[in-house]
Symmetry: D2
Subunit: 135 residues, 4 copies
């Protein structure tokens, strides 16, 4: 199963070359991961942080850029899980416009307690809802 969201490429995303400044792609990757936690896992970040006192800091992230995206484009973001570890999740997120892939990102996060800052195993209730997105 894929988790997909669309984002309009706005004026504020674009650089003097008229194309998306790369940093905004990373922000969109972070955003679609946040949407996935809220809508697919049922765990909005505010609840996760305040009520469950856990977080998913980023371990590493990387992105290949194939072709520029332009002002006015509708970017389709698709997220799957490349690897679901004991406490880590490695996402694969692609961005495409009209079927043409613009970028492909790997984004790895890992669960920690916000009280001890130590790594935690992903609880079963969360893991169950995540598993549908493992590629």
């Amino acid at each position: 199963m894929k988790f997909a969201r669309e984002r309009l490429i706005r004026f504020s995303h674009c650089d003097p070359a008229g194309i998306v400044y790369f940093v905004h792609f990373f922000d969109m990757v972070g955003g679609v991961v946040e949407d996935w936690f809220r809508e697919a896992v049922g765990l909005p970040f505010n609840e996760m942080h305040l009520e469950r006192r856990v977080g998913f800091p980023i371990v590493n992230t990387g992105c290949e850029f194939f072709r520029p995206a332009l002002l006015g484009d509708t970017l389709r973001l698709e997220l799957v899980i490349a690897k679901l570890g004991r406490s880590s999740i490695e996402f694969l997120v692609t961005g495409s416009v009209a079927g043409e892939e613009k970028f492909r990102a790997r984004h790895k996060v890992a669960l920690v307690s916000l009280d001890t800052f130590r790594s935690l195993p992903i609880p079963d209730d969360m893991r169950k809802r995540m598993q549908a997105y493992v590629a």
Copy 2:
């Protein structure tokens, strides 16, 4: 030779956890590469784009995050060239606070003509000034 710059971690860089939001680290990587082109290669981006009609779009970039950086930290960014290709440059950029490494990024760019959007070999005058930074 290393190219180094310091950046103060500001309020606007920090997220609700009080640490730098990862996207700003990518912006700082892009920024130190821009500084290096201006100060080490002698080629400010405006001159590069307008007068020489070339650019260095990003091919790929990736970053490992070791430890969070905090509001008020002075982040030291260090740039070297991991690989200098025919038309591409692969930078290694590290960010550290008081000697502790916070992140380590790989950032690859490649020279293109802004008129044809085709790949170009890096001209000798540029390459000469770049070579001092090859690790």
Copy 3:
């Protein structure tokens, strides 16, 4: 007539106090103006800039902040025109969450030619579609 759009308050909008960093409100004001041009006036920014060779640079903008917006809030942005001049438009944009007003911005833009950078009167075809939004 009001032009309204909703925006989810994301992690990346929030500062170490856990509330929206004010700069993002200005970005949202710019964004809803862009949406209005595209959807209400029928003039996406890329068309406006590339085909009609005109732009609407910002003359001034100001905002009062009444109450903070929080991670997870759905912010409702409402735009009306406070004053439609010969070449200028002064927007009133409010942001509210569940009926509570969070901010109120005035945002004035004026039409210029991108070739001469001189002020232009707003053409009748555009003005007609704008008039429905004058408060």
Copy 4:
């Protein structure tokens, strides 16, 4: 007395028109206010928030834009206090390049307790160091 800082206009500040996107000017205004608290008042934001448990949320801010700033420009930011109230400070911040004023912002903040979120009078030790900057 004026508090002045210089900022290089970077690629990431510029929009498809090749000029600074207005939102970044607000970020620079927020940044120079932060610098002034740290360097002129002797109160870095982290200390202010964590040790003294007070903050200066923004009441309102507004900016007139006179002329665009360009990639590669060195922007000189100058801050004075237009009005120092019992718990509020109204800053006047200008941005200029080579003596030409690009923008002029009014930015009002007011002291609150982070524990009660109620307004507080500015303590005498802070006020004394602020007074030198009243225009």
